[in-house]
Symmetry: C2
Subunit: 223 residues, 2 copies
């Protein structure tokens, strides 16, 4: 009809990007990288993949231009190549969420209390942080907190929460956050603290989305 080969080449190159997203492990890696730079070994640990396998997935995504890498000492650190990658993953999530039965089942099962634990918007939290009327709680692991976190956020990884409860004020409102919309850490922290009488809500989405929205962050500034 209109044209044949150049157009098809274009669609094929788009398809290559989509293919780079079309594996659960790679999406899991992308969620990790949305937090910040990671080494191959670090990603392999967190995702449960072998180092060689993680390396292959990473290289594939790098070829598809989703990732970039740099060397630091012995380690090769990967990162998202561009904020547009985060937008792409978000768009993917939205389609799957609104329509996909399997996703619905999982969300309905695992995140059943989601609506009950209503979320605070980024804008609202930003205003409250500025006004100093809220305690921000980062429940991610320490190293993720170290690479970047919300201003004035205190870090208590979920598994240490019960041991370090005394650090949390009972009067002030607490807002907990973690990696992103499907990170369970913040959900569990909110449920745990509410049971024990704290006044606590959850930030919508997580750290990467906050950063992508151009809101202020505290970041590690090494080379």
């Amino acid at each position: 009809m209109s044209s044949y080969s150049p157009k098809r080449a274009l669609f094929d190159s788009f398809a290559e990007v989509a293919k780079a997203l079309s594996h659960g492990s790679r999406l899991e890696i992308l969620e990790q990288l949305a937090q910040g730079e990671r080494s191959v070994e670090g990603l392999a640990d967190r995702t449960g993949l072998s180092v060689a396998n993680a390396s292959q997935h990473l290289r594939l995504m790098q070829r598809a231009a989703l990732l970039a890498s740099r060397r630091e000492g012995k380690h090769v650190l990967y990162r998202l190549s561009d904020p547009s990658v985060l937008h792409l993953v978000a768009a993917l999530r939205k389609v799957a969420e609104s329509k996909h039965a399997a996703a619905r089942d999982v969300i309905g099962g695992y995140f059943r209390e989601r609506d009950a634990l209503e979320a605070v918007s980024r804008e609202e939290l930003a205003a409250r942080i500025k006004a100093g009327i809220v305690t921000v709680l980062d429940v991610r692991p320490e190293d993720e907190y170290a690479t970047g976190h919300l201003p004035r956020a205190i870090n208590i990884p979920l598994r240490e929460l019960s041991r370090r409860l005394r650090k949390l004020p009972k009067r002030r409102e607490i807002v907990a956050y973690c990696r992103g919309p499907y990170c369970v850490l913040a959900f569990e922290a909110v449920a745990f603290l509410r049971e024990r009488g704290w006044k606590v809500r959850r930030l919508e989405d997580g750290f990467p989305e906050w950063k992508a929205a151009g809101l202020p962050v505290v970041e590690r500034v090494d080379g």
Copy 2:
């Protein structure tokens, strides 16, 4: 670290959506469906696929919730399940465009005059149509025009343009459009008409994006 199986099931279901996008033919089908409903045979014709193969691609995308279908007489008509699918494809395009070398090469080669033929924004065109100070030219095939088009647009398929030049005013500005950002029809129409002295520009993107932006359209209203 955080959780294992439910989270992984979630990522796997996202991956299924991405996989549905990960084939050039399927993206080509999606571009067609962005124009409006299409039968299996119609899509097979336009994409050069066999009917059976097109049917398989369609079913795969339907399972991944990208498409919906309905029966009308002898034909099964497929459509995009949701506007979010269009956003997803746009996000995919953006990542590929900004970063992917292959896409760049093709764009650089085939659309080399892109910048020279500067585009009119949707908003600007909408205002001009309302004010009645522009001629809108739809260069898609007749059947695509018939299923939906911009208000007051006249339809002259590209291949008939040279025969029907007298229908076009020389004084008024003309804005041409077609399917979307990678549809070549409008580019070629603009180049053709400019050479012959018309004052003509191209609409950014195409009909699906116009419609998705909530701007007014004329649509066929059969059952």
